[in-house]
Protein backbone atom coordinates (compact mmCIF):
# COMPACT_ATOMS: atom_id res chain seq x y z
CA UNK A 1 0.00 0.00 0.00
CA UNK A 2 1.21 3.56 -0.67
CA UNK A 3 3.32 5.34 1.92
CA UNK A 4 3.09 9.13 1.94
CA UNK A 5 5.68 10.91 4.09
CA UNK A 6 6.04 7.88 6.31
CA UNK A 7 2.31 7.25 6.69
CA UNK A 8 1.05 4.04 5.09
CA UNK A 9 -2.47 4.30 3.71
CA UNK A 10 -4.70 1.23 3.70
CA UNK A 11 -6.11 1.97 0.24
CA UNK A 12 -4.82 3.06 -3.15
CA UNK A 13 -7.88 5.20 -3.62
CA UNK A 14 -8.05 8.83 -2.52
CA UNK A 15 -11.36 10.62 -2.75
CA UNK A 16 -12.52 14.20 -2.97
CA UNK A 17 -15.38 15.53 -0.85
CA UNK A 18 -16.99 18.00 -3.27
CA UNK A 19 -20.10 17.90 -5.47
CA UNK A 20 -21.98 15.04 -3.78
CA UNK A 21 -25.78 15.14 -3.81
CA UNK A 22 -25.82 14.97 0.02
CA UNK A 23 -23.56 14.51 3.06
CA UNK A 24 -25.01 11.03 3.58
CA UNK A 25 -24.05 10.01 0.04
CA UNK A 26 -20.56 11.44 0.58
CA UNK A 27 -20.18 9.38 3.74
CA UNK A 28 -21.43 6.20 2.08
CA UNK A 29 -19.14 6.72 -0.90
CA UNK A 30 -16.20 6.79 1.49
CA UNK A 31 -17.38 3.76 3.43
CA UNK A 32 -18.11 1.62 0.37
CA UNK A 33 -14.87 2.58 -1.35
CA UNK A 34 -12.63 2.21 1.67
CA UNK A 35 -10.80 5.33 0.48
CA UNK A 36 -8.01 6.16 2.91
CA UNK A 37 -7.56 9.86 2.19
CA UNK A 38 -10.10 12.67 1.83
CA UNK A 39 -9.26 15.95 0.13
CA UNK A 40 -10.78 19.11 1.60
CA UNK A 41 -10.50 22.88 1.11
CA UNK A 42 -10.68 26.09 3.15
CA UNK A 43 -13.38 28.62 2.33
CA UNK A 44 -14.80 31.76 3.89
CA UNK A 45 -17.33 31.37 6.65
CA UNK A 46 -19.50 33.99 8.37
CA UNK A 47 -20.02 34.10 12.12
CA UNK A 48 -23.56 32.83 11.99
CA UNK A 49 -22.83 30.12 9.43
CA UNK A 50 -22.52 26.46 10.40
CA UNK A 51 -21.60 24.91 7.01
CA UNK A 52 -17.90 24.52 7.72
CA UNK A 53 -18.44 23.23 11.22
CA UNK A 54 -20.99 20.66 10.09
CA UNK A 55 -18.80 19.58 7.18
CA UNK A 56 -15.89 19.09 9.55
CA UNK A 57 -17.99 16.97 11.88
CA UNK A 58 -18.92 14.79 8.90
CA UNK A 59 -15.30 14.38 7.77
CA UNK A 60 -14.04 13.51 11.23
CA UNK A 61 -16.32 10.51 11.53
CA UNK A 62 -14.99 9.13 8.24
CA UNK A 63 -11.79 8.24 10.10
CA UNK A 64 -9.59 8.88 7.07
CA UNK A 65 -6.46 10.93 6.56
CA UNK A 66 -7.31 14.50 5.55
CA UNK A 67 -5.49 16.18 2.69
CA UNK A 68 -6.32 19.90 2.44
CA UNK A 69 -5.84 21.54 -0.95
CA UNK A 70 -5.04 25.00 -2.27
CA UNK A 71 -7.63 24.67 -5.03
CA UNK A 72 -8.20 27.76 -7.11
CA UNK A 73 -4.92 29.46 -6.18
CA UNK A 74 -3.21 31.07 -9.16
CA UNK A 75 -0.29 32.75 -7.37
CA UNK A 76 2.50 31.43 -5.15
CA UNK A 77 1.54 33.83 -2.39
CA UNK A 78 -2.14 32.77 -2.39
CA UNK A 79 -1.15 29.11 -2.33
CA UNK A 80 1.34 29.58 0.51
CA UNK A 81 -1.03 31.58 2.72
CA UNK A 82 -3.84 29.13 2.01
CA UNK A 83 -1.53 26.25 2.96
CA UNK A 84 -0.75 27.92 6.28
CA UNK A 85 -4.43 28.42 7.09
CA UNK A 86 -5.11 24.80 6.12
CA UNK A 87 -2.30 23.46 8.28
CA UNK A 88 -3.71 25.17 11.35
CA UNK A 89 -7.32 24.41 10.54
CA UNK A 90 -6.84 20.70 9.85
CA UNK A 91 -3.85 20.26 12.10
CA UNK A 92 -1.84 18.41 9.44
CA UNK A 93 1.44 19.10 7.60
CA UNK A 94 -0.07 17.55 4.46
CA UNK A 95 -1.05 19.91 1.68
CA UNK A 96 -2.28 19.17 -1.84
CA UNK A 97 -0.55 22.01 -3.60
CA UNK A 98 -2.41 23.46 -6.56
CA UNK A 99 -0.98 26.47 -8.36
CA UNK A 100 -3.19 26.88 -11.40
CA UNK A 101 -1.61 28.43 -14.48
CA UNK A 102 -4.41 28.27 -17.02
CA UNK A 103 -8.06 28.92 -16.36
CA UNK A 104 -9.73 26.77 -19.01
CA UNK A 105 -7.64 23.66 -18.47
CA UNK A 106 -6.82 24.27 -14.79
CA UNK A 107 -3.34 23.18 -15.79
CA UNK A 108 -0.73 23.44 -13.03
CA UNK A 109 1.76 26.29 -13.42
CA UNK A 110 5.13 24.49 -13.40
CA UNK A 111 6.99 27.65 -12.40
CA UNK A 112 4.77 28.78 -9.55
CA UNK A 113 4.37 25.19 -8.41
CA UNK A 114 8.08 24.62 -7.89
CA UNK A 115 8.51 27.93 -6.08
CA UNK A 116 5.55 27.33 -3.77
CA UNK A 117 6.68 23.74 -3.16
CA UNK A 118 10.15 24.93 -2.15
CA UNK A 119 8.76 27.54 0.26
CA UNK A 120 6.33 25.10 1.86
CA UNK A 121 8.78 22.19 2.14
CA UNK A 122 11.29 24.46 3.84
CA UNK A 123 8.54 25.49 6.21
CA UNK A 124 7.91 21.89 7.26
CA UNK A 125 4.91 21.12 5.05
CA UNK A 126 4.56 17.70 3.46
CA UNK A 127 3.63 18.69 -0.06
CA UNK A 128 1.48 16.66 -2.50
CA UNK A 129 1.97 18.69 -5.71
CA UNK A 130 -0.77 18.54 -8.35
CA UNK A 131 1.52 18.50 -11.39
CA UNK A 132 1.83 17.38 -15.00
CA UNK A 133 3.82 14.39 -16.28
CA UNK A 134 6.69 16.73 -17.25
CA UNK A 135 9.92 14.93 -16.23
CA UNK A 136 11.88 18.07 -15.46
CA UNK A 137 9.08 19.67 -13.49
CA UNK A 138 8.83 16.49 -11.46
CA UNK A 139 12.56 16.41 -10.87
CA UNK A 140 12.44 20.01 -9.61
CA UNK A 141 9.56 19.19 -7.29
CA UNK A 142 11.54 16.29 -5.84
CA UNK A 143 14.56 18.55 -5.42
CA UNK A 144 12.32 21.10 -3.69
CA UNK A 145 11.57 18.45 -1.08
CA UNK A 146 8.38 16.77 -2.33
CA UNK A 147 8.27 13.05 -1.56
CA UNK A 148 5.05 12.40 -3.49
CA UNK A 149 4.01 13.49 -6.99
CA UNK A 150 0.44 13.79 -8.26
CA UNK A 151 0.47 14.09 -12.07
CA UNK A 152 -2.83 14.71 -13.82
CA UNK A 153 -4.37 12.07 -16.07
CA UNK A 154 -6.44 14.75 -17.82
CA UNK A 155 -7.75 18.17 -16.83
CA UNK A 156 -9.82 18.33 -13.62
CA UNK A 157 -13.42 17.32 -14.13
CA UNK A 158 -13.10 16.14 -17.73
CA UNK A 159 -13.26 12.38 -17.18
CA UNK A 160 -11.05 11.85 -20.24
CA UNK A 161 -8.75 9.34 -18.55
CA UNK A 162 -5.02 9.22 -19.31
CA UNK A 163 -4.26 11.73 -22.06
CA UNK A 164 -0.54 11.08 -22.30
CA UNK A 165 0.13 7.39 -21.69
CA UNK A 166 3.67 7.67 -23.02
CA UNK A 167 4.57 10.55 -20.76
CA UNK A 168 3.08 8.89 -17.70
CA UNK A 169 4.89 5.61 -18.40
CA UNK A 170 8.11 7.52 -18.78
CA UNK A 171 7.56 9.33 -15.48
CA UNK A 172 6.93 6.02 -13.72
CA UNK A 173 10.05 4.51 -15.26
CA UNK A 174 12.20 7.47 -14.23
CA UNK A 175 11.09 7.52 -10.61
CA UNK A 176 10.44 3.89 -9.67
CA UNK A 177 10.65 4.66 -5.94
CA UNK A 178 8.62 7.86 -5.65
CA UNK A 179 4.94 7.46 -4.73
CA UNK A 180 3.02 8.60 -7.82
CA UNK A 181 -0.70 9.39 -7.65
CA UNK A 182 -2.84 10.01 -10.72
CA UNK A 183 -4.77 13.12 -9.72
CA UNK A 184 -7.64 14.43 -11.82
CA UNK A 185 -9.16 13.56 -15.17
CA UNK A 186 -10.29 9.98 -14.59
CA UNK A 187 -13.84 9.18 -15.62
CA UNK A 188 -14.11 5.39 -15.55
CA UNK A 189 -12.81 2.56 -13.35
CA UNK A 190 -11.10 0.90 -16.32
CA UNK A 191 -8.91 4.00 -16.58
CA UNK A 192 -8.00 3.76 -12.91
CA UNK A 193 -7.17 0.06 -13.34
CA UNK A 194 -4.96 0.93 -16.29
CA UNK A 195 -3.10 3.52 -14.22
CA UNK A 196 -2.39 0.87 -11.60
CA UNK A 197 -1.31 -1.64 -14.25
CA UNK A 198 1.15 1.03 -15.44
CA UNK A 199 2.59 1.02 -11.94
CA UNK A 200 1.10 4.11 -10.34
CA UNK A 201 0.63 3.91 -6.59
CA UNK A 202 -2.78 5.45 -6.16
CA UNK A 203 -5.49 7.57 -7.78
CA UNK A 204 -7.25 10.67 -6.49
CA UNK A 205 -10.81 11.07 -7.73
CA UNK A 206 -13.72 13.37 -7.17
CA UNK A 207 -15.96 14.35 -10.08
CA UNK A 208 -16.19 10.85 -11.60
CA UNK A 209 -17.58 9.57 -8.31
CA UNK A 210 -19.62 12.54 -7.08
CA UNK A 211 -21.23 13.21 -10.46
CA UNK A 212 -22.08 9.59 -11.29
CA UNK A 213 -25.74 8.65 -11.28
CA UNK A 214 -25.04 6.58 -8.17
CA UNK A 215 -21.93 7.97 -6.44
CA UNK A 216 -21.84 5.23 -3.80
CA UNK A 217 -21.80 2.37 -6.29
CA UNK A 218 -19.33 4.25 -8.49
CA UNK A 219 -17.03 4.78 -5.52
CA UNK A 220 -16.95 1.06 -4.88
CA UNK A 221 -16.47 0.38 -8.60
CA UNK A 222 -13.36 2.57 -8.63
CA UNK A 223 -12.07 0.98 -5.45
CA UNK A 224 -12.28 -2.50 -6.96
CA UNK A 225 -10.76 -1.37 -10.23
CA UNK A 226 -7.83 0.16 -8.40
CA UNK A 227 -7.24 -3.05 -6.46
CA UNK A 228 -7.60 -5.06 -9.66
CA UNK A 229 -5.00 -2.97 -11.46
CA UNK A 230 -2.56 -3.12 -8.56
CA UNK A 231 -2.95 -6.89 -8.24
CA UNK A 232 -2.43 -7.30 -11.98
CA UNK A 233 0.80 -5.34 -11.80
CA UNK A 234 1.95 -7.56 -8.95
CA UNK A 235 0.90 -10.75 -10.75
CA UNK A 236 3.13 -9.97 -13.75
CA UNK A 237 0.83 -9.97 -16.81
CA UNK A 238 1.46 -11.98 -19.98
CA UNK A 239 3.19 -10.21 -22.86
CA UNK A 240 0.71 -9.23 -25.57
CA UNK A 241 1.45 -10.93 -28.90
CA UNK A 242 0.29 -10.35 -32.45
CA UNK A 243 -0.33 -13.95 -33.43
CA UNK A 244 -2.97 -16.18 -31.89
CA UNK A 245 -2.01 -19.16 -29.71
CA UNK A 246 -4.57 -21.83 -28.81
CA UNK A 247 -5.33 -22.08 -25.09
CA UNK A 248 -6.86 -25.56 -25.36
CA UNK A 249 -4.13 -28.14 -26.06
CA UNK A 250 -4.01 -29.44 -29.65
CA UNK A 251 -2.29 -32.65 -28.55
CA UNK A 252 -4.74 -35.50 -28.25
CA UNK A 253 -7.42 -33.90 -30.41
CA UNK A 254 -9.54 -36.75 -31.81
CA UNK A 255 -9.56 -37.24 -35.59
CA UNK A 256 -13.17 -36.67 -36.64
Amino acid sequence: MPVFYGTEIASRMMLGTAQYPSPAILANAFRRSGAGVATVSVRREAGGERAGQDFWALIKQLKVAVLPNTAGCHSVREAVTTAHMARELFDTPWIKLEVIGHTDSLQPDPFGLVEAARILCEDGFQVFPYCTEDLILCERLLNAGCKVLMPWGAPIGTGLGLNNIYGLRSLRANYPDVPLVIDAGLGLPSQAAQAMEMGFDAVLLNTAVAKAGDPVVMAEAFARAVEAGAMARKADPMEPRDMAAPSTPILGKPLL
Binding site: T17, V40, S41, R44, E45, W56, L89
Partner: protein
Protein backbone atom coordinates in the same frame (compact mmCIF):
# COMPACT_ATOMS: atom_id res chain seq x y z
CA UNK B 1 -13.13 52.05 12.14
CA UNK B 2 -13.85 50.12 8.89
CA UNK B 3 -12.47 46.67 8.25
CA UNK B 4 -13.09 44.29 5.34
CA UNK B 5 -14.10 40.87 6.64
CA UNK B 6 -14.33 38.18 3.94
CA UNK B 7 -14.82 40.96 1.42
CA UNK B 8 -17.58 42.77 3.29
CA UNK B 9 -16.98 46.09 5.07
CA UNK B 10 -17.61 45.91 8.79
CA UNK B 11 -17.82 48.83 11.20
CA UNK B 12 -16.02 47.98 14.45
CA UNK B 13 -14.53 49.87 17.37
CA UNK B 14 -11.35 47.97 16.56
CA UNK B 15 -8.89 46.31 18.90
CA UNK B 16 -7.40 42.86 18.40
CA UNK B 17 -8.26 40.22 15.80
CA UNK B 18 -9.46 38.03 18.71
CA UNK B 19 -11.87 40.77 19.78
CA UNK B 20 -13.22 41.07 16.26
CA UNK B 21 -13.76 37.32 15.97
CA UNK B 22 -15.60 37.42 19.28
CA UNK B 23 -17.72 40.34 18.17
CA UNK B 24 -18.59 38.49 14.94
CA UNK B 25 -19.57 35.31 16.78
CA UNK B 26 -16.66 33.05 15.81
CA UNK B 27 -15.76 32.08 19.34
CA UNK B 28 -15.28 28.35 19.65
CA UNK B 29 -15.58 27.78 15.93
CA UNK B 30 -13.04 25.87 13.83
CA UNK B 31 -11.55 28.66 11.71
CA UNK B 32 -8.28 30.05 10.43
CA UNK B 33 -7.44 33.67 9.75
CA UNK B 34 -5.39 35.95 7.54
CA UNK B 35 -4.97 39.72 7.68
CA UNK B 36 -3.88 41.66 4.61
CA UNK B 37 -3.02 38.40 2.80
CA UNK B 38 -0.78 37.25 5.64
CA UNK B 39 -1.68 34.20 7.72
CA UNK B 40 -2.32 35.02 11.40
CA UNK B 41 -2.11 31.91 13.57
CA UNK B 42 -4.63 31.40 16.39
CA UNK B 43 -1.88 31.98 18.94
CA UNK B 44 -1.35 35.52 17.58
CA UNK B 45 -4.99 36.65 17.49
CA UNK B 46 -4.96 38.04 21.01
CA UNK B 47 -2.01 40.29 20.25
CA UNK B 48 -2.75 41.19 16.64
CA UNK B 49 -4.02 44.79 16.61
CA UNK B 50 -6.25 45.64 13.66
CA UNK B 51 -5.92 48.90 11.78
CA UNK B 52 -8.49 50.83 9.77
CA UNK B 53 -8.85 49.32 6.28
CA UNK B 54 -7.37 45.96 7.20
CA UNK B 55 -8.51 43.04 5.09
CA UNK B 56 -9.43 40.08 7.28
CA UNK B 57 -10.13 36.60 5.87
CA UNK B 58 -11.82 34.00 8.05
CA UNK B 59 -12.03 30.49 6.66
CA UNK B 60 -13.46 27.15 7.77
CA UNK B 61 -13.22 23.57 6.45
CA UNK B 62 -15.10 22.98 3.24
CA UNK B 63 -15.57 20.41 0.47
CA UNK B 64 -12.58 19.95 -1.82
CA UNK B 65 -11.30 17.76 -4.63
Amino acid sequence: MKIKVNGKTVETQGGTLAALLDELGFSGKKIATAVNEEFVPATKRETHQLADGDRVEIVAPRQGG
